[in-house]
Symmetry: C2
Subunit: 156 residues, 2 copies
């Protein structure tokens, strides 16, 4: 089974594809897709959607695991990230993929257990759980790997 | 020029198509599209998107005028309506339509002027501005007509 993990954003979109076979996960692909802040929002949204469509076509995931959108102090940003969530759900539904959403606490618990779960702990656990061959510079990419692994752990 | 007016929602989606020629507006089409509250959210979102795609294909609008999403007391609802906004923007961008957003006060001012602007005043003005041949039962449909007419008035 293949799981597409998505950390939704229009500025940075974290994407990861995890392959699970015989109860073991392998990282097939990951990236942090960025859009130019000078572009209109709808164009950035379209770039994000087109990228997701491309990844879905290339890696044929069965499920999509999405980090859920929460309210932060900036309402405008929250609403715009919610719009990205809408595009992810829409594409998932149209491609007949099942979409699952996980909150940041659920992800932290699934990946790092009941420990302190600092950002560094989570990243260290991710390297322990799957073989990450590339250098990852942006957290959004780690977050996408984390939500895909969370789905893999919860949805057995 | 044809304008597609949209009052975004996943429960009820207001849709209107206005044709403007020689400075005069005509109502080409309108509906209030409803989805079953028993369906999962992503399916309702997909139905909304599919309906919009169908209307765009049939009526070939040039611009989309969208009532902007605002925070109400229910954060969950606001975030879900924001997801619908994302789908509308995504479809608009992919179909190469220009999308414009108007706030409820902008719409009220454009349609009913500086008067009190009660719901009844606005509806009465809509009937004055365009010939509405059908009986409209749900406000969402009036709201879609109103945002399309707002765009027509502002974007000359």
């Amino acid at each position: 089974m293949r799981i597409l993990g998505v950390d939704p954003g229009y500025d940075r979109l974290g994407i990861a594809v995890i392959e699970k076979s015989n109860g073991k996960e392998e990282l097939v692909y990951s990236e942090c897709f960025e859009t130019d802040s000078g572009l209109p929002f709808s164009e950035r949204l379209s770039l994000v959607g087109t990228t997701l469509e491309r990844i879905v076509a290339k890696h044929s995931p069965h499920h999509v695991a999405l980090e859920s959108v929460y309210f932060n102090t900036n309402k405008k940003t929250a609403m715009d990230v919610a719009a990205v969530r809408g595009v992810v759900l829409y594409i998932g539904e149209r491609r007949k993929l099942e979409v699952f959403e996980y909150t940041p606490p659920q992800i932290k618990l699934a990946v790092a257990g009941a420990g302190r779960g600092s950002k560094e702990d989570v990243i260290s656990m991710l390297h322990h759980l799957v073989d990450i061959k590339k250098e990852i510079l942006l957290d959004d990419e780690y977050d996408a790997i984390a939500v895909a692994l969370t789905h893999s752990a919860i949805h057995r």
